[in-house]
Symmetry: C2
Subunit: 110 residues, 2 copies
Amino acid sequence: MPEPALELLKGTLDLLILRTLELRPMHGSAIAERISQVTHGAFQVKAGSLFPALHRLEQEGWIEGEWRESKEGRRVRSYTLTRDGRRQLAVEKKTWARIVQATNALLESA
Amino acid sequence: MPEPALELLKGTLDLLILRTLELRPMHGSAIAERISQVTHGAFQVKAGSLFPALHRLEQEGWIEGEWRESKEGRRVRSYTLTRDGRRQLAVEKKTWARIVQATNALLESA
DNA sequence: CGGCGTTATATAGAATATCTATATTGGACT
DNA sequence: AGTCCAATATAGATATTCTATATAACGCCG
């Protein structure tokens, strides 16, 4: 049986979204789908978390949204990582690395 | 200069506390001090986070507190990991490993 | 002895982020 | 037209950490 999806650690969603948009511009639902695929279902970002987060990131100037027509003819809001967003992503990657390192130090300490 | 302390990701404090008590019984302030030392100051658990968390963990039956006299003659509440606490610690270790794995998958994906 | 600083614990209230549940829109398909 | 689904939106609930403040008890020092 597949492992159940995990609750996101509060504070990690920005990193997941920014990192996904680093690859290419994408609309909200596609971001969520890709996160689920790459993590083999471990992270399933809920719509009620995703869209407010996208609005927040856009407010911060880290992503830029634009209404488009998807291939299937749907109205979607496509998001692009901005220059500031790349900078922020770098910061969050470093922070994440420090968190993992510190936590592992604790888990492995004698 | 030393790196600044990190904000804790919400949801990780239980793991840090339970893991620390796995080594030996300890009182609250000693737990915080050890976490800070082992992580080289990356995690500095605030008193306002620590003590409510200890109460919560005791409510859950994962740790057991007992008033004692410390060597310095201070009144401290010493906490011991219970059997259920060990089980919970194992669960949280696995969850943490899955979170790290999933996040790394995302960060390293092409 | 009395004041002062320090350690240990406690707790209320603020801030923040995610989740649940519900709503709206527009297109496709019958 | 009616139904279904994908995509986006948002209000309210929940949970956890942080800030700020408080109390108690001990040691130190003038």
